[in-house]
Amino acid sequence: MDLSFLFNDYVMQVTTNTGINIIMVLGLNLITGVTGQLSLGHAAFMSIGAYSSAILSTSLGAPFIVSLVTGTLTGAIFGAILGIPILRLRGDYLAISTLGFGEIIRVILLNTDLVGGALGIYNIPDSTNIYIVFIAVAFAIFFMYRLEKSRHGMAIKSIREDEIASEMMGINIARYKIISFTIGSGFAALGGTLYAHFMTYINPVDFGFMKSIEQLCMLVLGGMGSIFGAVAGTIVLSTIPEFLRFASEYRMLTYGIVLILMMIFRPQGLFGKIKVNV
């Protein structure tokens, strides 16, 4: 059988894009699915990773691996800095303030001439390839899997199930929430870094509220709190639009319907087992 059609540029591109999405959705899964803190500003951390690494690669000419690591760490640091004040909030207040931070970061990027303003950054070296993405995805899945099995994982799952009870058990809620948020933002930034070096061009519009919603949609469809669910949901929502190119104007409409129907009929997602109660 001739399988060479699977290896053309188009398929490679879709696969790479899916892989990048998986990394970011896994980060979101850690924050929203495993720790139970709804974040609506995930794309903001993606943008921080993308911008910081793109500046390193273009203006300073740093090697890709340096940009990759620095971009990821910058995102994680921002996650920690923003997480400390807002993670005291709960439920929808937290959601709305992550949204607020996301918008503020986008507006700042849009109005800072140093990072290109509305024009964005172009001519980023085309360093991301499918092998690097594959390694990063494998790393992300392995990391998340080990994390959930660890002491930390147990602690954050207990926070999701019942915050007050886990506090009674002596778990330092604030600390674990911030750690989760930092790691999750770090993965978003890793995805953003790969995205910037894959697209070779970024601008603030790529990282708006809709991007955060798209990632949330992938997670919700697959199942919050499940690594397999996050990966499966992302693959489904990243590839289906490619098959339905002729119906692309219905894409966002379908996202909306998917969110509503999933919440009504199967709030735990296609592959999730847990009931998220926030």
Binding site: P85, R88, S97, I104, M252, G256, P267, V276, N277
Partner: protein, 285 residues
């Protein structure tokens, strides 16, 4: 200088009173079912578009336009509640599920309008005389808010609303049908949003299918600023937000316009999460 300051103040109060109208819908729904109704901003946008279509098809009679717009938006608001929120409420779903469902409704409505009307900006007809436009907008907003205040305080259904927001189960024991009251709340909130949509269209003379998202979020910020669940809070919060935004744009920088509201939100949430009126007045509707 002084007259320009006065003009900016008037602009701020005009925008602020429209924010207040939308914020009231958020605050009432949150007070009753503890849900950030993300779709509220899109109902506001639909109100503006209904106004646009009516004024094209049936002439630019402001009273007729706003009347049809508010009737249809309150109908849409109830429909959204019945389809997207009620099934969740009946099964005692997690609050995060209702929030995600609301985001779904919001995406659905705005993209439905894109599908029907296209993604472009539409220019709005002149419905009110230009020279007293701002005064009229402020007066209409005040009138609507007074109407709401009257309903909540002096009618049976208003008492039922306050009872349900205080405690659903006790209200049910007293013979109140909470589902009916919740639907009524959505109807009133959406009515105010529809009116605000027409007013915004008349004021800025342009509408687009995605204007509901940002405007709605800012109105939500106004509701949080005033203390979510509090009706006077939403009114005052809207005015403060409108004034801050207009004065900030006029005297500091226009490019950070959207960041101002969210900056206020985060500061409020961190410093005083109950908002300005959250504690003082226990009134929650």
């Amino acid at each position: 200088m002084l007259s320009s300051l006065f003009q900016q103040f008037l602009n701020g109060i005009t925008v602020g009173s429209i924010y207040s109208l939308v914020a009231l819908g958020y605050t009432m729904v949150y007070g009753i079912i503890k849900l950030i109704n993300f779709a509220h901003g899109d109902i506001f946008m639909v109100g503006a578009f209904i106004g646009l279509i009516i004024s094209i098809k049936m002439g630019t009679n402001f009273t007729l336009v706003i009347f049809i717009a508010i009737v249809l938006t309150s109908f849409i608001g109830v429909l959204v509640e019945k389809i997207a929120y009620k099934p969740l409420r009946n099964r005692n779903s997690a609050r995060i599920s209702a929030l995600i469902s609301a985001i779904g409704v919001s995406i659905f409505i705005s993209n439905l309008v894109v599908l029907i009307n296209g993604p472009q900006n539409e220019s709005y007809p002149q419905l009110l005389p230009n020279n007293i436009l701002q005064i009229l907008i402020i007066l209409i907003s005040i009138g609507l808010m007074y109407g709401l205040y009257y309903i909540v305080h002096n009618t049976k259904v208003g008492i039922a609303m306050r009872a349900v927001s205080f405690n659903v189960n006790t209200a049910r024991l007293m013979g109140i049908n909470p589902d009916m009251v919740i639907s009524f709340t959505f109807a009133i909130g959406s009515l105010l949003a529809g009116a605000a949509g027409v007013l915004v269209g008349t004021y800025y003379r342009a509408v687009d299918p995605f204007m509901g998202m940002m405007f709605g979020l800012k109105a939500f910020v106004a509701a949080v600023l005033g203390g979510i669940g509090s009706i006077p809070g939403a009114m005052v919060g809207g005015l403060i937000l409108g004034l801050t935004e207009v004065l900030g744009v006029a005297f500091v920088s226009s490019s950070f316009r959207d960041a101002i509201a969210f900056g206020i939100l985060i500061i409020i949430l961190i410093v005083k999460p109950t908002g300005l009126f959250g504690k003082k007045t226990k009134e929650k509707v």
